[in-house]
Symmetry: D2
Subunit: 338 residues, 4 copies
């Protein structure tokens, strides 16, 4: 058991707040973008992907965010709705902001890069007054994502959403999702990440992201134990620290640490691995599974996404994940393991 | 005869300065962009299209501009070079600017719109110090485009380029190309457009663009005659005023006005009509043709471009234009006329 | 007894962080500024005034802030040093920022206004990396002031200073000091004020300032009891709510409320009343006095300041305050009471 | 004779456009500003000083500019009106801009410096739409000042004012007044200064200012002759180039150059020398005097201003200037000559 419990009287399972953008994935892969000529459009952004993932897994999900007043914005809202996600918390910018874009380049399964358009983006224009207290009051879990803390007024909207979640007993999960290009300085990032993380029940990030947050502290050997203990002194119940190829470790309040089983995958690209993992892991927690099983389920979901061309569109159903695990266990999937 | 003569001792025919960007044309046409899913990438931007058009027509062309330090920027420079355009005047931004984007939506041949990304774009970062005096000194004609006047330091770079052109005897053509979204106010636009146009030999724009420039003057009936006379009091030799469906009229210093023959076309979209017309018209002037023939050649070039999916990529060779005119004259092309 | 205790092993009594600026007080009073012609220069800014007040009362004080690299900045640092305030935490801006200015206009003792210069001011350029952990570790009390939360990077510097204070056992006092003109929106203000106040031991502000902080909460009757209870659920030990002419009330964790004796004064202007009150009140707490005596001492200090032309320069010594109280008690001061 | 003639049917002699600000002159002189404590307030800004100077000399003067919506702004407008200057062209900012400030420091007569407040200043918010064509149409001379070209929308307002002046036959005088701190880059400055100067009848500046304008030209030996000839190829009739201690030289279209008699002065500070010189010189031109006499009259006016504590307030009447010259000629003023 994860130690986490959720308020089952609430009608919504999961609400994410933050970035909504467009992925433009090069159709011609295994070459630099200078040599690609066509792109396919998908809904993207880490919290959007996770929300789509949760909905695909059968959770009743909602979103709080802001879209541009243009074709891209309407495409995003329409897509979320087609996924069954509640969009009453998605407002439309009226100041002329644009939709964030991410052009993806896949030179090889291991060499993927993203060309971002993040100037004057609608998602960072979300204002505190636009955060719907009732939607958050009615959900079991709120997911926040670090990028939404990068600028005003989105940053204030996220802090208010956390306040509403705590006021009304929703668990708060924080996907660190640190993207340096949206921030002015590392010092600024560290300050706001800490202010947010202090109030969260579940914190998920890479070792490097936790290092960035410890910029004004002493943890010279970058020990997970010191990191996890810090957060258990605040509100945290679970801290997941990802060590790249060395796998992820989930720490719990009781002092235990947990690792996942890993699965093979036919990797097309690495984009979307973290988002599908997060969706799978949080889904598991909401099922009341033990932590290791949650992590394994997240890993299998990630394998499915990285074997496909898109992120949001490739998010699997629970049945697909269970089936993937079963096939791996039967030795039917034996390709390159990540 | 147009009355324009060019210095044939110069080795470059044509240099354009200004916007270099990317067109992302929806592959699925005749529907709103919310319902499109793939896009094809082309080099775009009005002066870029005209320069490509001139090169395709056989002119020795060059470009002065600035591209982002990313895959899009490298794609643009590479494309210009493949077209045979001299790119020593194209510098690379190092401040983190992005490449301007234009997503095109074709709802019907008559209903086309563009979704622009113009925040923090590299083309407007061109600095005066980066304008190569030698390249401009060595060209017969310099083309400037209104959008490059919209912001500093690009605006100053254009004024300096005009100064260099006049110092060294290059004719200056001004394609008004007024795009409201890049400007703060109409009053600001009017001031800089006038300061630039006063120094130009050839001015090409729509009636509405000339109206905008006359914001602080008296021409209540919007008479072409008053407009043209004003510019002949400055440096102008030819003033082309476009009246949409009523066709274009070219005014010359001698008081004459000229109209073009028009040709039928199978219109896919209207994007690129103005740029291909400009390339054809300026090409004609450089051949020493009379004004009406220049205009007709421009019209035929435009017909070819609007019958295709792209702009830059569809720019015709001189042979293609001559052939198109011949086929029209033989009655072989009879479709919808624009 | 106030219930507050301080770590007497620490060598510094008091460190303030935030605004350092210049007051330019019109020498000709009781007229609009259009009719004044000369101004006298003083060091100003709420936390600067309080630090000067504490030093004048005999406390070992220090300051963390940033000054412009000009004559005004050097004047400020020099003045603090002449007051005996430790300035190792005062850094100098190198980006061309200016010193904030406050031109004061005294139309009548009751009609005072301020004309502020707050664009590109040095005090808001203080960066987190410039906050000296050792200075804060060595002080009994840290004072923060709301204006320093108005913009980055000063806001982040203040949050880090609070973190250092808590890490090292310094009490944190928060003078709300809300100045609307430095903020973008009230929603933004509310969010950051709450994030800071949650971590403070002592919170001092007007009823209106607490209302602003409750923007996203329910306290329709604006009851002090609800307000105070909220903060006692966080870190607060003392909450002082000022009700203008109706006096101030200090609330303590034990559920008690406290009021001050008030004193008569010959009011010249109202500027500086709050800052001198804060200095006197905090001084009293550090002497271990009971809350009511602290409040009365603050009131008497305020009476002295508002009877003079300046703020910082008029901050009294402890002897002056005791003497003022004694004279009031003997009926020697009988003028207009505020 | 200067060769300049003015349209005597016009009812206004002189209109200046541009900066209106406040000088705060330290009352304690011959020391650094760190050691001064009081300041006296005056109207300042180069074109404001010149307009006051012209009014004091008996000219019917007007002003086109913008003031802040505060006590400083109202003080400025009131002062201009008390000087008899037409202020219908002075609008009030409504965006929260402030009045520019110049704190002056007089360490010695030869060591004077200025601490400027130029962020978000009202004078640079003047919009083209606010430039009154009728006022400019009715004046004999328009004075523009370089600082007003430093930012939008003031820059556009100045270009439009020049256009109105030329349309209606007003002479245009350009006081280069280059203040580096208001400009982004020297290249930008050079471009706009040239665009403006090309349309001016009278250009007055230091050798260094003309060098800055020739940044993209060839005049390696910095020869006045090359400089003057350039401007006579445009609209200029008189070009005055100041060589500091070596005196000023006025060049005229006929190829002649002119120098002034110089006078002794008891120098208090050097501020205001250029503005009083400009007022005296332009006044002389409007009297129809020969160039050398205009220059000498300007020099004497400057001597009077630099012998006093203020700039605008010290601007002399014509009688005072004539009297000063007479006393110098009688040997009654023998002090340090500048």
């Amino acid at each position: 058991m994860s130690g986490m419990t959720f308020d089952h009287s609430k009608k919504t399972d999961f609400v994410a707040i933050g970035r909504l953008c467009i992925d433009l994935n090069a159709n011609e892969i295994n070459r630099p973008m200078e040599l690609t000529s066509t792109f396919t459009k998908y809904v993207g952004g880490s919290p959007a992907n996770i929300a789509v993932g949760m909905a695909r897994l059968g959770m009743r999900a909602g979103f709080v965010g802001k879209v541009a007043d243009d074709q891209m914005g309407r495409f995003i809202t329409g897509y979320l709705e087609r996924c069954g996600i509640e969009t009453s918390g998605v407002t439309t910018d009226r100041t002329g902001a644009v939709t964030g874009l991410a052009f993806t380049e896949i030179k090889s399964p291991a060499e993927c890069s993203i060309l971002m358009y993040r100037d004057n983006v609608a998602d960072l224009k979300l204002r505190p007054e636009e955060v719907p207290e009732a939607l958050i009051a009615g959900t079991k879990m709120l997911l926040i994502s670090g990028t939404a803390l990068a600028a005003s007024p989105s940053r204030e909207a996220v802090f208010l959403a956390i306040e509403y979640a705590r006021r009304h007993g929703a668990a708060v999960a924080f996907d660190l999702d640190y993207r340096p290009y949206t921030w002015s300085t590392e010092a600024e990032t560290a300050v706001y990440y800490n202010l947010a993380a202090e109030k969260c029940d579940i914190i998920v990030g890479t070792r490097e992201e936790f290092d960035m947050m410890e910029r004004f502290e002493r943890n010279p050997e970058r020990l997970d134990g010191i990191t996890a203990a810090k957060w258990f002194n605040h509100a945290a119940r679970i801290v997941v620290i990802k060590h790249g190829k060395d796998g992820s470790i989930a720490y719990t309040e009781d002092g235990a640490s947990h690792r996942a089983v890993s699965y093979p995958a036919n990797v097309v690209k690495t984009f979307g691995a973290g988002d599908s993992y997060a969706a799978g892991f949080l889904y598991g927690l909401m099922q009341g599974w033990d932590i290791s099983r949650c992590m394994s389920f997240g890993s299998a979901a990630a394998c499915i996404v990285i074997s496909s061309h898109s992120c949001s569109e490739a998010m699997p159903s629970a049945e697909q994940v269970h089936d993937y695990i079963a096939r791996c266990e039967r030795g039917e999937i034996t390709a390159s393991q990540i």
